[in-house]
């Protein structure tokens, strides 16, 4: 029988998000997927987890979850991993995801590899690949400990339907820290949008300083292509878009089929977050902008006239 692989189900999951489906697909390749939901979950989510191969779904209530920053979730996940005798624990990459994974690894004396794009067993050893140094290198590493904790970059694999009847287990976890901990005094979930999530979208249209603060063409093209809206660090710093939409080293890292950079020069910190896109289109009035050395199609011109004309043609 294959070993259990624990998957942490994405935060705020009312419905299954694409990165959780991808984690379940990877878990199915590595062993027997066990999905862990921290907090409440609607029945529809449980069915969706089964559809992507979760053999077990652990619904874990934790009264301290919403008051705690990261720690309660990490302790809960470690507790479930032990209960399931899991050899591998998978978490989606992100600011919180990486911290949760690090704390779980600390608790379980497990090896940690963050932001992996693939993972496999090679003669009983877990081996994973990650892309480093602004996309220039791929590092292959193996985990030397009995238990491995991985964070997996969204859009690294295609989620596969592997319908199973998930065995549902209800559990309760009490987070009882022995040392003083931080307390969440207010929380606001990410505002819902009709557009796909930035890290999961197949198409991302981003704007930079060259938009001069008018994101209407960026949004119109994103909507015409069914894509997500992003922004460069310069656009975030100028207040054109919220930081949650920043693409780059200190923002989101995206790997869509199509990335459109509008008025973005292409600093290395930005390229680090979008270099793995399959196709790249850039529109920038500066012929010397580094983005032109990277894009599959580079247009030197004024985005304010070109983009509306393109949107009109896309109808």
């Amino acid at each position: 029988m294959s070993e259990n692989v624990v998957v942490l189900v994405g935060a705020n999951a009312e419905v299954l998000d694409a990165s959780t489906a991808e984690l379940l697909t990877l878990a199915g390749q590595l062993g027997r997927p066990v999905a862990v939901v921290a907090g409440e979950a609607p029945q529809a989510l449980v069915a969706e987890l089964g559809r992507f191969g979760a053999a077990e779904v652990h619904l874990v209530s934790c009264p301290q979850l919403s008051d705690s920053l990261v720690l309660a979730k990490a302790a809960l996940l470690a507790d479930r991993a032990v209960a399931a005798h899991a050899k591998v624990i998978l978490v989606a990459s992100g600011l919180e995801g990486n911290e949760v994974a690090g704390l779980v690894a600390a608790k379980l004396s497990a090896g940690l590899i963050t932001d992996v794009v693939t993972a496999r067993f090679e003669t009983a050893e877990l081996v994973a690949d990650k892309v480093v140094w602004a996309g220039k290198y791929t590092v292959t590493a193996k985990v030397l400990t009995e238990v491995a904790v991985l964070t997996v970059k969204p859009n690294s694999c295609v989620p596969l339907i592997a319908e199973v009847e998930a065995e549902v287990r209800q559990a309760r976890f009490d987070f009882e820290p022995v040392a003083p901990v931080a307390r969440v005094i207010s929380a606001e979930p990410t505002a819902a949008t009709k557009r796909p999530k930035l890290v999961e979208a197949n198409v991302v249209v981003s704007g930079g300083r060259g938009t001069d603060g008018d994101f209407a063409p960026v949004e119109a093209l994103a909507d015409a292509l069914g894509g997500a809206v992003g922004g460069s660090r310069a656009a975030v710093d100028a207040g054109y878009v919220p930081q949650t939409l920043q693409v780059g080293q200190t923002g989101k890292s995206v790997s869509p089929d199509l990335y459109v950079a509008l008025g973005i020069s292409g600093a290395i910190q930005h390229i680090a977050g979008m270099r793995t896109a399959r196709r790249i289109l850039a529109v920038n009035s500066d012929p010397e902008a580094p983005i032109h050395r990277l894009a599959d199609l580079s247009v030197v011109g004024d985005l304010k006239t070109i983009v509306p004309a393109v949107v009109a043609r896309l109808g």
Partner: protein, 259 residues
């Protein structure tokens, strides 16, 4: 109270990097420097120092002897003194080894508030602050877009994949700050001169009472098997738009890319 800002000496993000015999990333590149993201930690630590009566700021780094230049930069920004933990046995440590050394140093320096950056710019895991809080048994206030301290209570605003939160904890605490927390200051000529008089103390594992077997490549829980250079993205077609002349080609490109 002693505030401790954590800084790392890393290759510049524009550098061509090399890899050591154990396949770890070479830290000493042609323009290695204080990690850009740690400048935000130094900046916030400097700001908090002025708000906390009697506070001093020590910058702390773990790394090769060359890492002194990163500490010197932080001293130019205005830190009071600097400590470099350097020891051949530390080379090749994973995050757990690094956190072991840092937490021993923080205890030994009797820090009351630790300020770190959001992640290193080279390894980029973003987990060391969480591991430090765990090992020091201090509250964790990480990935802060804004931080304040008042009456012994630290408060941060954080935005992550779950949404935005305001979080608080009593000191001592571990804080990490993002690049949204405020632009780092640029040292003036006067600051640069003043920093020459400041000291950089060096500590070894023995000074900290850390067993060499708990750190270094031998204690790492992950082994790098291979490093491969990815092919550069070939530059594609460049066209110059004149009065909308590029629109047809863009529409065709988008159609092909989203098929």
């Amino acid at each position: 109270m002693r505030i401790i800002a954590l800084v790392k000496y890393v290759p510049d993000s524009g550098d061509e990097v090399g890899f050591e015999a154990d396949l770890s990333l070479g830290r000493v590149g042609p323009s290695s420097r204080l990690s850009e993201l740690d400048e935000y930690a130094v900046e916030q630590a400097l700001r908090l120092r002025t708000e906390l009566a009697g506070a001093t700021l020590t910058v702390l780094s773990v790394g090769p002897a060359e890492a002194e230049s990163a500490l010197r930069k932080a001293l130019q920004m205005g830190a009071d003194d600097a400590v470099l933990v350097t020891d051949e046995a530390i080379a090749g440590s994973d995050v757990f080894g690094t956190a072991t050394v840092l937490s021993a140093a923080i205890r030994s320096l009797e820090g009351g508030l630790v300020v770190a950056g959001m992640s290193s710019t080279d390894a980029g895991l973003g987990v060391v602050p969480a591991l430090l809080a765990d090992s020091l048994c201090w509250p964790l206030l990480s990935q802060a877009a804004a931080v304040s301290v008042e009456a012994g209570l630290a408060k941060i605003a954080r935005v992550d994949e779950t949404g935005s939160r305001v979080v608080e904890a009593a000191l001592p605490a571990v804080v990490s700050v993002t690049d949204q927390s405020g632009e780092p200051r640029y040292p003036s000529f006067k600051d640069v001169l003043a920093a020459k008089k400041k000291s950089v103390a060096t500590l070894t594992l023995a000074d900290l009472g850390v067993d060499a077997s708990a750190v270094g490549v031998g204690s790492a829980r992950v082994e790098v098997l291979a490093v491969g250079r990815n092919p550069d993205r070939a530059a594609g077609r460049v066209i110059v738009d004149v009065d909308g002349s590029s629109v047809d080609e863009i529409v065709d490109f988008l159609a092909a890319a989203t098929k």
